[in-house]
């Protein structure tokens, strides 16, 4: 079975649960999720860097799984849950702990990359917790290798993620 073809010229309604809130807006098939979030839903917490999957700034969680919003089409997330760095305090304990740890360790300066790093780190840490694994520094650095930060030199980010991992 295939679904109806969505025409390139028409606007299609996309329903998402964005950070726990039911939202909807219109999108043509070519619209990237990153632009849909920022321009159609006004959720500018998710940042756009390289737009080809390298820098990691646009990473969001789709149905809980950290993924690049710039390599995802808005029409692909119709009916799904999208969680971003704008998730409210108290909605995700790991994310809350990461935010506090980032603040304590000065793990951000300009903050551009932080939106994506927090989403990847939260997904990854929750999976480590689920299998009862306490990640070491090398593993944290490996996870962070999917993100570019030009301010911090990464070390404070590594310390912040490790602190939450071992809390």
């Amino acid at each position: 079975m295939s679904q109806p073809v969505l025409s390139r010229d028409a606007l299609h309604t996309v329903h998402v649960t964005l950070d726990g809130q039911a939202r909807r807006a219109q999108a043509r098939p070519r619209l990237l999720l990153s632009d849909f979030l920022r321009h159609e839903l006004g959720a500018t917490g998710t940042h756009v860097g390289c737009e080809h999957g390298v820098c990691g700034a646009c990473t969001v969680r789709i149905d809980g799984v950290a993924q690049r919003a710039c390599l995802t089409l808005a029409v692909q997330v119709d009916g799904r849950c999208v969680d971003t760095v704008q998730a409210s305090q108290g909605s995700n304990r790991t994310l809350d702990a990461l935010r506090a740890a980032f603040k304590r360790h000065h793990a951000l300066q300009c903050g551009f990359c932080t939106a994506g790093i927090l989403m990847s780190s939260a997904d990854w840490l929750q999976r480590q917790q689920a299998i009862g694994h306490r990640p070491n520094e090398a593993e944290v650095r490996d996870m962070l290798s999917g993100h570019l930060c030009r301010c911090t030199g990464y070390t404070p980010i590594v310390h912040a993620v490790l602190e939450v991992a071992h809390a």
């Binding site: 079975m1 073809v5 070519r30 799984v65 390599l71 990847s120």
Partner: protein, 271 residues
Amino acid sequence: MKPAAFDYVRADSAQAAAELLQQHGENARILAGGQSLMAVLNMRLAQPGLLIDISRSVELASITVMPGTVRVGAAVTQAQLQAHADVPPLLALAFPWISHFPIRNRGTVCGSIAHADPSAELPLCLVALRGTVHLRSARGRRDVPAPDFFTGLLSTARRADELIEAVSFPRPQPDEAFGFAEHARRHGDFALCAVAMVASSRGLRVAVGGLSDRPNAIDLPALTGPALDDVINELAWSLDVRDDPHTSATTRRHLLRQLARKATPPARRSA
């Protein structure tokens, strides 16, 4: 860095996707994880008229463990196979080298094989293990052995009306040992050179990625030490390795000679 306009359709089954491909041919592209295709679209290196999204197909999302093989459906992500209890041991060694965690979360195993980047790890492992690519079209099904599937730079034996329905990796035999080594400029970048090895009582199979336009494999007797080094050196010179703006052919051949030592499974390294 925004894709050109295209129509979009979601296909829930291999049959539905195959029928759409029959109708639209080369104007259509299969979208699975999109971790190669979406970047290509964003850079407008490809401008298909129709994207056929199979990422939500339940039928294509299964990993089937059979007595001799592990069959991986077209919508299975790299992260799902990496976390699976029956992940083939060579792939378990290679997965940490494949890009990064959020990319593996969405990128599919079959998508990487369909993309056929000569530096990519999954095509290399499929060739090293003599896996099989299962193709599906509205006309029927056919299976292509991995070494015949890759025909050149980003080129495969897949016809315009076919999709990769699944790929099969042979399960390990008791006498087999595996090795994998890679060098890239940054961890997770495309390999400048990658080597996969399968050692067994029959000998040593060596597969090389990143050096020429496709992964290459050779079967050797059970060589070790300097004798193995010599054969690897001959292999390095036999491949059509080119200079590119980032890396010279000399460097890539050197990397092969060094990485082959690292990739040789421990039991074969001495003796």
